[in-house]
Symmetry: C2
Subunit: 240 residues, 2 copies
């Protein structure tokens, strides 16, 4: 958590969020708030609406998430709801407090897998059609991007994961390193570096579920001493 996020939460009168994320906030921060409002997953719209209503009533409200508010998160939804209620962001002193995206916190756990031009893609087809997701995967896998994959697997979308593995294998060798980070920062955290060719079979294990982030290397990525390394390209410019 950034120092700014902590300071913002300490100043907030109401803290609103998904129950799991509220539970991850240190006690001294939640105890400083007048009110906590948490709801389970899938209540994003009603929860954010509640947060905006409380702000419109004159309270200083913080909506919490787990990574950055711009990465598959509620920054935009909050603005859309403010707009739909005929209020303005400026009147509410609306601000987005940036954070560390899962791509970055998970990448750090396997070394330096991203480094160069990189892309984040979610395999959830809840809000984006699977045809678009497939087309995006083809486009970036064919170029040299490293790829962070969010929401890789759920019981309802087992096929999306398998399709994604197949698309990646059309463009990249089977021995391409893939960092698999499950439950980063939680009690059930597990980290492994695997090969792209074996990724699909891991969909049947506990390692890959909705709390997992995958970090797919590019053709230059290699594994050394338990670390994934995507060279930045300095070695072609300098002798060292």
């Amino acid at each position: 958590m950034t120092q700014r996020a902590r300071a913002t939460l300490l100043e907030a009168e109401h803290i609103v969020g998904y129950t799991t994320y509220i539970d991850l906030i240190p006690d001294d921060v939640t105890e400083a708030a007048d009110e906590l409002y948490d709801t389970p997953m899938c209540g994003e719209v009603s929860r954010t609406e509640e947060a905006v209503d409380r702000a419109l009533a004159g309270n200083d409200v913080a909506i919490v998430g787990s990574g950055d508010p711009n990465v598959y998160a509620l920054g935009g939804l909050a603005l859309e709801i403010i707009e739909s209620k005929g209020a303005t962001a400026s009147a509410l002193d609306f601000e987005v407090v940036p954070g560390v995206p899962a791509a970055q916190s998970c990448a750090a756990r396997v070394g330096a897998p991203l480094v160069n031009d990189s892309v984040s893609i979610s395999l959830s087809d809840h809000l984006t059609p699977m045809a678009d997701i497939e087309s995006r995967l083809h486009a970036v896998a064919a170029e040299g991007f490293t790829i962070a994959i969010y929401n890789p697997w759920s019981r309802k979308r087992r096929e999306n994961f398998e399709t994604a593995c197949e698309i990646l294998l059309e463009h990249r060798p089977a021995d391409t390193p893939v960092g698999v980070v499950h439950g980063a920062g939680r009690d059930d955290e597990a980290v492994e570096i695997v090969e792209l060719g074996e990724l699909k079979s891991l969909g049947e294990t506990d390692l890959i579920d909705m709390t997992t982030t995958l970090l797919v290397g590019n053709e230059e990525t290699y594994v050394w001493d338990g670390q994934m390394i995507t060279p930045r390209g300095y070695e072609s410019k300098y002798d060292y």
Copy 2:
């Protein structure tokens, strides 16, 4: 700065970095270190080598950057240098401390421009051939990605910026919103939301230089009340 980054720097005996970034660290943190070692820009390899040598000599060394060590930064180079010296990451207790990438800290300043599948691309052809950069821009601009552009302009690569603007305009309407964030967090910070069609002409102004990050919206991104909003797609799923 995250709380973990601050704690890590406070524990470090030596802090190594680009002069500008060392200057941005709070005084109480730098004063707690035994030694600071800073060099100007372009000394990345020799500076990182110096950091690794100091660690091999038994010191607790922190290499600092301005965003996240995986985003156009030195995480990978540090590992490559450790490897080249015949040492190991595990023997040195090497770890990457994640941070907030410029894409996120800049996006927060213009609202919620990224939100969905997103890509980071650098226009610097110092370490990546311009032909690859152009091909990547075509690939992602043709899909629905929001695009964070790093290193958009320098006197030596004015043409790269102009070419990038032209490629984006081949795939997206001229009124596509673009967030322009210059010198985020510095004294000369400037933030504007412009249209893609006018972006190229801004290359001749002080707003766009090597400290600027550009946030290019997708076809759904709009501007409201001074904020850039890329809808996450909830509105198609729910009534609110």
